[in-house]
């Protein structure tokens, strides 16, 4: 079955990102397809490659990235939410005159249309938030 996942909360503050990760991983391990993981609102915080948790803690960003690598996941970050919270890729840095980027290469910034498309194309949309 085809699933779309929406993540509305950032890492480390809420359990939503952990729950979404474990659900997504379990679905993939059962042979389901994940059409897209869409990071919205504070969920965009899951995509910064600059995150550095203590060594004995889980690295939520790298954990998502490893899952994306293994299963070729499409992980999309909402552009408006990203701009507000300082999540930047090359295109956004250029467009908004920023001196740095911080997005992890396994994520991409795009618009809300990607969430709508995911909801239409998938048989189930599962939302994780606070």
């Amino acid at each position: 079955m085809k699933f779309a996942i929406q993540v509305n909360e950032g890492p480390y503050q809420h359990q939503a990102s952990d729950s979404a990760y474990h659900f997504t991983k379990a679905a993939l391990e059962k042979g389901h397809e994940i059409f897209r993981v869409f990071f919205y609102h504070d969920g965009v915080g899951n995509s910064t490659r600059l995150t550095t948790p203590p060594q004995d803690d889980r690295n939520i960003v790298e954990r998502w990235a490893a899952l994306a690598e293994q299963y070729d996941l499409d992980m999309v970050v909402c552009v408006a939410a990203a701009q507000r919270r300082g999540i930047v890729d090359d295109g956004e840095a250029e467009r908004n005159g920023k001196d740095a980027t911080n997005i992890h290469p396994k994520f991409r910034i795009s618009g809300l249309g990607q969430l709508i498309e995911a909801a239409i194309q998938s048989e189930r949309l599962v939302v994780f938030g606070d």
Binding site: M1, F3, N8, Q15, A16, S19, H22, F23, K25, A26, A27, E29, K30, H32, R124, L125, V126, V127, F128, G129, D130
Partner: protein, 101 residues
């Protein structure tokens, strides 16, 4: 159409469980996870609502129960424990997922 409702907040903290219970239809299911697992515990106001909901199945996410130090003996009768794979199965089994976030 039957639905899987998910509740992730304690009924003693937020009203999402009550909202869910006001909308859930016979033949649907409720999965309690994260702090939502507290709604599955015996001897609470939430337990009475679970018991009174006829034709609705209740599930609780085992890892979240364990993370909060709650043993399965604390669960309201009829509540079934599932793992993440079971959560996925439920999402696939029911026609849609309604997330009460």
């Amino acid at each position: 159409m039957s639905e899987l409702h998910t509740v992730n907040k304690s009924p003693f903290e937020k009203s999402s469980f009550d909202s869910c219970m006001a909308h859930v239809l016979e033949g649907s299911a409720v999965l309690l996870y994260e702090d939502g697992v507290y709604a599955a515990t015996k001897g609470t106001a939430a337990a009475a609502k679970v018991a009174a909901a006829g034709g609705v199945k209740f599930y609780v996410l085992g890892p979240d129960l364990k993370a909060r130090g709650l043993s399965e003996e604390r669960l309201t009768d009829g509540v079934e424990v599932v793992d993440y794979a079971g959560f996925v199965d439920l999402a696939a089994e029911y026609g849609k997922v309604v997330s009460w976030v």
